[in-house]
Every structure is written in C-alpha cells, then in structure tokens.
Amino acid sequence: MPIFFAVQRGPAVAANARVMMPSAVTTIGSSPDADVSFPGVDGLAPLHVKVWLDGRDMKLEALDLSPVSVGGVKAVTHQIKLNTVFDLGANLSLKFEHTPSKSSAGGTSVNLNAVASKSGENKAIPALRPPTLKTSVQQAREIMDKAIADKAAAQAATLSKKQDPPTLPTKKTEDKSQAAKPSGNPEGPVIADTAPVTTPSEPPPIVPAAEKSDAASAKPVAAAKPVVAAKPAAPASKDPPRAIAEVQLPYGEPITLEELNKIPVFNGMPGKQMAKLPGSVVRRKFKKGEIICREGDYGFTAFYILQGACEVYIGSPLASVTSVKQEDKRGGFFGLLREFKHKLTGRKVDPTASTSRRMFIPVDGPEDLPMDNPIGKLKAGDLFGEMSCTSLYPRSATVRATEDCEMLEMLNNVLFALKDNPTYKVRYDADYRHRALSQHLRGVSILSGLDEEFINQLKERVELVSYKKGEIVVKEGDDSDAFYLIRFGNVKVSKHYAGGEVVLNYLGRSEFFGEVGLLHGGKRKATCTSLDHVECVRIRKPDFDFMLSWYDDIRENIEKIATERERAGELRAEGVPNVKIKDFLGQGLMQAQSLLLLDLNKCTRCDECVHACSDSHESVTRLVREGLRFDNYLVATSCRSCLDPVCMPGCPVGSIHRQESMEILIEDWCIGCGLCARNCPYGNISMHAFPGDAASEPAAGAPNAVAEMTELVKKAAPKDKKKAVTCDLCHELEEPSCVYACPHDAAHRVDARKFFASGGDVRASKV
C-alpha cells in the first residue's frame, strides 16, 4: 500500500553551507519507492546519502539524480527504495547523512521524525517546521509555499470545472434532478480537511449520494477514484417530486429551485429534497441600517448573504452591572488603596485583571468577536445563524446591514443540503481556515502562545470534522489520537463510574477537549458526545505532540489544565456513591455538589446572607432565602453546582461555563436570552435587569467604529436590559460570602450526597 511520510522536524542549520539536508519539506512518492527531495542542493555531485530508519542502516544506495529546478530553486531528487511496510500512524525516525564520497563517513546528517500516513495520491504534505528556523531553510520554505499555492490553485481549478454534478447510475435516467449528493453527514465523522488534489487527467472525485433518511452507511470521501453509491437511488419518477408541506417564512419572496441553482454555491442542491418543502428558502432585502436579527431573539433560520455587507455585534454592555475593566487602574496611593481593599475582602485575584481566559466571544457566524472590540464584519458569501437554524438556540449577536443587502433566508433542511453540497463545503472549509481558524486557535487560551508562522502551518494540517446529534466523538477508554477544538455546537463530557454515568462538563464553541488522554497515558479519560450538530477542528496527535515539543509554555498550560480536569474528575468520583445514581438523581437534591442549607432552628431571618451576596456581587444578589425544606433545613434558591449542569448547553455566546472546580460562571458578555434560566430545573438562575444605557464607554484609543457602535447600542438597546446571574460560589473569594457573613452559624454549604449519607450532619458534609 502506498505509504507517505510527513516529515515533521528538521535541523537547525546545515553543517555544510553547500549542502542542504532535508529539513521541512519533502515531496513524497509512494513506497516501496520513496522519493525524497532535498531542497537547496546546488550542483553537488556525487551526492551519497545514507538512510537510517528507526536506527537501522537501510544500506540503501541513493541514486544521485540530476538536479532539477523546483520553484526556481535547484533541488536534487533521490529515489529510495525502502522495501518495508509500516503500520499506519507508525512513528518513524529517519536519519539522512550526506558524505562527500561513498566510503567516507561522518558527513552532514540530519534526524527527521515522520509518521506513516495513508493517502491515496501524490500529495505534498507541508511538514511542520520548528519556528526558530530562519534563513537556513529559506529556500525550503519557498518550495513549501509554492507547493501550497499550487495545491490551492488545483483545488480552485477543480471547483470551477465542477459545474454539473455527476449523476448516479439509476434504472431510469430521465430524472435529471437526481443529482449526486455528497454524504455530508454520514454515520461516521466526515474528514474534510482539504479536497483531494487531483491531477488534471484524473476525474474529479465523486462522492456517493445518500438520502438523509437512508440508513446506508456512507463512506468517507475517497479521492482519486470515482465511488459509486453504496445503495442505488430510488427509481426516478417521471412526475415531479410531490411537496410534503408548503412552508411560508414570514418575510421575503420565495425563490424557485431554478433560481437557486443559478447561485454558484447552491448549484447542485438536491432538487428532490428541495421540492418536498417549497418555500423553505426565501430572498430578502435589507436596507442600510436595518437590523436583520437581534441577539437573544429566538430564530429558526440561517442567512446567506448574496450581496452587501453587515456588521455583527453584541448589543449588551459587556458587564453585569459595572465593567471590572473600568476599575481604577492607577498606581501609587490609589493603587495601594485598591490592593488593601482587595485584601480586606479576601479576593484571590485582582478583579481588574480579566476574569475570563478568553480573547474572543463565540457567536453564530463565520468569525468570533474580539473581546475588546466586539464588532465583526460579514460580507457576500457569508453564512450566519446556523446554530439557531439547526438547534433553535437564541440568536447570539445582533446583525445590522451596513449597506443595502440581499440575502437568502433558509430553514434547516436547506441549510443541511447547502452544507452537504461539496461546492459549498470546500469553500466553507477553506473560508474557515482562512478567516476564522487562526482566530479560534488563538482564542483558545492555552494556544495563545503560538506564533503566526506556526498557526499558518497548523491551519493546513488540521481536519475539519462534523458530528450529528447524539454521536460519540471520543469514547472513554479508546486510544487518544487527536485534540479537538469545537468550532460549532455543544458537546457533553461524561464519565462512567460505578454507580452510573456522570456529566463532567458541557463544552461549546471555542472550547476544547481531548488533551487529557493525549498527555496522560494515551487513553481517553471521558466520553464526549455531541448534543446537537457539532463541527470540530481535529488536531492529530503527531501535530499536537510536535506543538508541545516546541512550545514549553503551551505544554505547561495544557498539562496544568489536564491535571486540573483529571483531579476534578477524581473528586467527583469520590463523591459518587456505588449505588444506582438515578435513584438519587430523581430526587433533584442529589444533583447538588454544593447545596446551600439554612438551619431554620438557628436562622433568625436577618438576611445577612442575602446582603453579603449582594455586597459581593455589585448589589445583585444570587441567593434567595426561599425554597424547598428538608427537615429543619431550608434549601435556599442558589446554584447547586449540579452534577449534570443542564443549564449550560445551548448558550448562544458560550458565556455560561463551569470551571475545573464546581462553580458555574456566567461571563460578562451574556446577552440575556434567558435560555439558561429556563433550562435550570430549580430556578436558580435569575435574569437581572439593568439600565440599557449603562454600556461601557469605549476604551481610550479604541477604533472609531467602536465609539460609533457604542452610540448605536445606547440608542438601540432597550431601557432595561437583562443578564443572567447565578451563584458562582464566590470563586474570587476564599469562601462563599453567604456562609462567611452569617452571624448565627445557620448557613452551610454541603455536598448533598454526603449530607444525606451522614443523616443530616452539616459538619461532616461541608464543602
């Protein structure tokens, strides 16, 4: 079978300036003849190259071929026969040595690591280069850049040639509307990193058509060979497909299938599918300044911009009541005073520092919004509103037309068909790589230390995968082979214990998982399941390992987080009883990891706990002294840090999340849609109103657009805007203020299971 080497590591400097050993890029052929191109070798002859593989001298006779010019740089290509078969994913260690003569030894050598990977075609895989390399491999870089550019050009050429979708062989060929439909979302993950590179002589790859309702297991894209559908399509009928329902979207003019097919990205949409639900896509026009959708509103459609431009922004002020960033940052006496005040209140961190590790606010569009300037641009060809369309989540941001726009508004049947369309899919993925991927990678706090050069390389190597609702992304106990960054959707992280399954966390857009298994032991420590339509960026283990080997600070950060997650999981495991969990969970109280109990025998109803909570949270209490009673205890209405935090999934802007400890946090960029409050079964999340014109002033030096937008926000935002608030266990303080401030020893935070197991002993079950 063809084996390819992706060479990942290169030397720092070649010992002999005239000899350029293989460093970053190799053009790979197929084994048993492996072609290795050594860039930059200039007119050396004879050139004897020895090859060691995993420490074994392969005793190969490297043939010195004539120098060939690749990208204007002279290079020498050697043909090497390895005559060895490797396992897929095998880590290989290659050593190349150049000696002046056949018999001499100890010449210039280089060690390279490689991974045997499977691919079906001649493909130049740009190898990862260490970021410290500079001009010593300048010429190799030029070769790589050219190779990438050539690949992109080939892809574009393939796309432009692909006008008419190939038809599948069917019994009746009269129905021309039955076009090949890509598998899109097959049973398994779709690997969709780059479209297969084909030479002009090869036909474009055809992916099998599979109806959504079919149970046929579609295969992942196999390039370079036409693939016939696993299941023959239904015999075409002479009559046009019958509409099963007529949809009437409230606004816009319906667009016919013929008109839709004239739009390039919609060309090739499954006509039969579209004809079943006429009216599910409409054309809409917006004038400059018009609001297309507002954050927090419920929506069920997505928008594709045909022409025009829009701005996407979050209209809610970025703070619950006041912005911590506006706190006086002066030094000197006032700085000392501030520090003294923080010491008095026992704050663990300086509130002037950002409480969030994020740099971007995830929104339902092609790009996330930077935290310090939450305004983004949308242009023709952009798609937004996917999450609302596929999963009925509230709109994550407000979109306003900055010039006259024309858009298509569609339901999820059309959206899925569009995303399955290979024409659109390739462009969508390429667009994501170009625009948003580096932002996403940089938005992950642990990867923020990567430099631009490395990110640009990584962008081309990652895979973009998608999962259907309920699909298992990674399973506990499986081998760890990749790191995942969530691009879209929500993922549930759960672990199996003796008593049953326990949800560890819910993760949304721009969050990540998979690092624990990669770092510790190589096995998955938890199961990650998609809660809705999920799209992920998948970084394979070799790339992940390479990244960690070159960036010590990233390695440290990831190891720290992985250790925290493991520790948090162990703590939860200690608390989970070895009995049927569902019997306890059914009572509701057993969900609680941190239950606030008020001993009614001691409580004098002085409300000091409520006042203390209010004082700790800028006059917004997260605690209500009312609720269910158990024996002589009142279960106050305050976040219980549930084992399964059902409040979390679905947040359109990912502002609600759980720390590695148990507290639930709602960040300042909450848009007040109220979804989490509705999801909480115990009413422990409340919507707090604050004046709409309390928008934070733009920071000094902020772009004019921000100042202008702030004015617009002040005009457009309602008088009273709401944000969700919930108890965060006073995570900035040493101890919850409610417990600390109770003068009568009546308030206690307990672990519910320990509490009930100990027969109501608060001291034995304190958190």
């Binding site: 001691k602 004098t604 009312e626 009673r629 600390y740 009568h744």
Partner: protein
C-alpha cells in the same frame, strides 16, 4: 444565635473570667477595708482598671453593628464576632459592678447604670428570643415567606381566592355571571396547598386547576356569602383582630358548617379556600414572630450606642477630675 455545644469554649472563658473578677474584687475589698479603711469605688486603681476594661469591652460590643456593615471584609467571621459580642458583653457585668463597688452613684453614673442594666437585660432577652423563636417559626410556619414579601403574598392570596370563587359562584358583585375576563384569566399566580411533612420533605404544591364555569354553580350562594362576609376581609392586609377566622379552631368549625350548606361540587373549592386561610394565618403569625425576633433590637441597639457615649463622657470627666 443558638447557644449550643459550639459555645462551650466561650462559656468556659466567660465563667472563668467572671469568677476571677469576683474573686479579685473580693480580695480588693477586703484589702481596702483592712489597710485603707475605705469603701471600694471607681477612683481606686482597681476600680479604674475594671472601668477601663469594661469600657473596652463595651466599645468592642458596639463594633458589631459596624462589622455588619462590612459583611464581606475578611476581618473575622460574623459568627465569631457575634459570639464575642454575647460572651464578652456578659463579662462586662461583673466588671462594671466591680468598677463602681456596687455603688450606683447619682445623676450621670446612675443613668449609666440604669442604661447598662437595660442594655444587658434587652440583650439577654434577645438571646433568649433568638434561641426559641426560630424553632417555633420552623414548626408552625411551613408556609413561611420572605418577610418583605408578606404583604405582596397577601395580595396574591386574595387574588387567587377571588378568581376561585368567581369561577364557581359568579361575580362577587350582586348577581351576574362570571365576567369574561375572569374566565379568560390564566391560572392563578399562586396556588398553594400545604404539604404535610412526609419523609422530612415539606413544601408547597400547586392546587389542581379547576374548570371555570360561565354561570354560577347551583347552590353556590352560601359559599359566595361566606366568602364576601368572612373570608375576603380576613385575607386583606392588616390586623386580624375581631375576625372570625383568626382562630384555627373557629375557622375549622365555620368551614365545616359552610361545607354542609354547599353541594359536593364545591367542596374542593372550599378545601382550597381553607388552605388559603390557613396560609394567611401563618403569615400573620410570621409577622408577629418576626416582630419578636427583631423588635428587641430597636431597644438594645440605640441604647447601646447611647450607653457608649455616656460611658465615654463619664470616663473623660472622671479622668480629668481624678
């Protein structure tokens, strides 16, 4: 603050300190009489020492009010401050008595002593109330509400009862069917049924929704009259003095009587009405108990600050005179 086993260390310290202070006082008196032939007074070194110690403790006790204003400051837990307030406050008694030599003086010192006695007694009373009333509230008020919301809850209860009766008996005005607005109204905002303590869990459950009728049910007139005459005034905010339904026993008898006058179709409505009245009684009781639990502070707190001021004046004047 419930005085329980966790106060043991404080109690032991206070008792020990009291015993010690009394012993020292006795020794001082004996020595004074034996060697100086004088009666004990505040101007002796011993009296002064006791006086300043008592002043310090009184000042510290007064700081509790300020401590509660800065609740989240990490300057000692609130319950530590409260325990110190109680036990060190009690310790001031032998110190003050020892300072004055059991002589209350006149004018200022007499006023101070009377004020001091009032503060101590009100504090002890408050301590007793805080130990007893919470348990009473817990047992007798399963429908307890947040104090500041009680009057709002009264309105909700009355609104709920109005809707219930109007749906069954027609308009509360003379004659007429139930107005369309009532029939079209959504489910009652607050429909509660007291849940008896079972398995340690008690709470409130919503009452079952009943179909609303456009015309009064047959035989509903006695219920309507009963509601307008007795129940509705009872559910209003304000004192329950003179109301027939104030007593739970009376209420039970009256409801039973009304039940006998109404058809079985309305018994469920009567049952709900009875539970609403029970809730109203509980909330009225809660108001009283809450008053007991906190009312003594209106005496204790201001008098404490007045005492501190007078004690400071006394200390300054006495020191200057000394």
């Amino acid at each position: 603050m419930l005085i329980d086993r966790t106060h043991k260390k404080w109690a032991v310290f206070t008792v020990a300190a009291t015993v010690l202070s009394i012993a020292l006082y006795v020794w001082h008196v004996v020595a004074l009489k034996q060697y100086a032939q004088k009666d004990p007074s505040g101007s002796t070194w011993f009296g002064l020492a006791y006086g300043f110690l008592a002043l310090g403790l009184i000042s510290f006790c007064c700081l509790l009010g300020l401590r509660k204003k800065v609740r989240i400051w990490r300057i000692g837990r609130a319950q530590t401050w409260m325990r110190a307030h109680i036990w060190l406050g009690l310790l001031t008694v032998p110190l003050v008595l020892g300072h004055g030599g059991l002589n209350f003086g006149n004018n200022l010192t007499l006023a101070i002593m009377l004020l001091f006695a009032t503060v101590i007694l009100s504090g002890v009373l408050g301590l007793l109330l805080q130990n007893l009333v919470p348990t009473v509230m817990m047992e007798r008020l399963p429908a307890e509400a947040t104090f500041e919301q009680i009057h709002h809850v009264f309105e909700l209860l009355r609104g709920e009862a109005d809707e219930m009766i109007t749906a069954s008996c027609g308009s509360l005005e003379e004659g007429g069917a139930a107005p369309a607005a009532i029939l079209a109204a959504p489910a009652p905002k607050r429909a509660t049924v007291l849940v008896k303590k079972e398995g340690g869990l008690q709470g409130k459950a919503p009452a079952a929704n009943r179909a609303k009728s456009a015309t009064p049910l047959e035989g509903s007139e006695p219920l309507k009259v009963f509601y307008v005459k007795d129940v509705r005034p009872f559910l209003a905010s304000g004192s329950l003095r003179g109301q027939r339904l104030t007593s739970a026993q009376n209420s039970s008898v009256i409801f039973e009587h009304t039940r006998s006058l109404t058809p079985p179709a309305l018994h469920e409505t009567l049952k709900d009405l009875e539970s609403i009245c029970e809730e109203r009684r509980q909330l009225a009781l809660q108001l009283k108990l809450h008053g007991l639990l906190h009312g003594w502070l209106f005496v204790h707190a201001p008098l404490s600050y007045l005492l501190l001021v007078l004690v400071l004046v006394h200390a300054i004047v006495s020191t200057l005179r000394y």
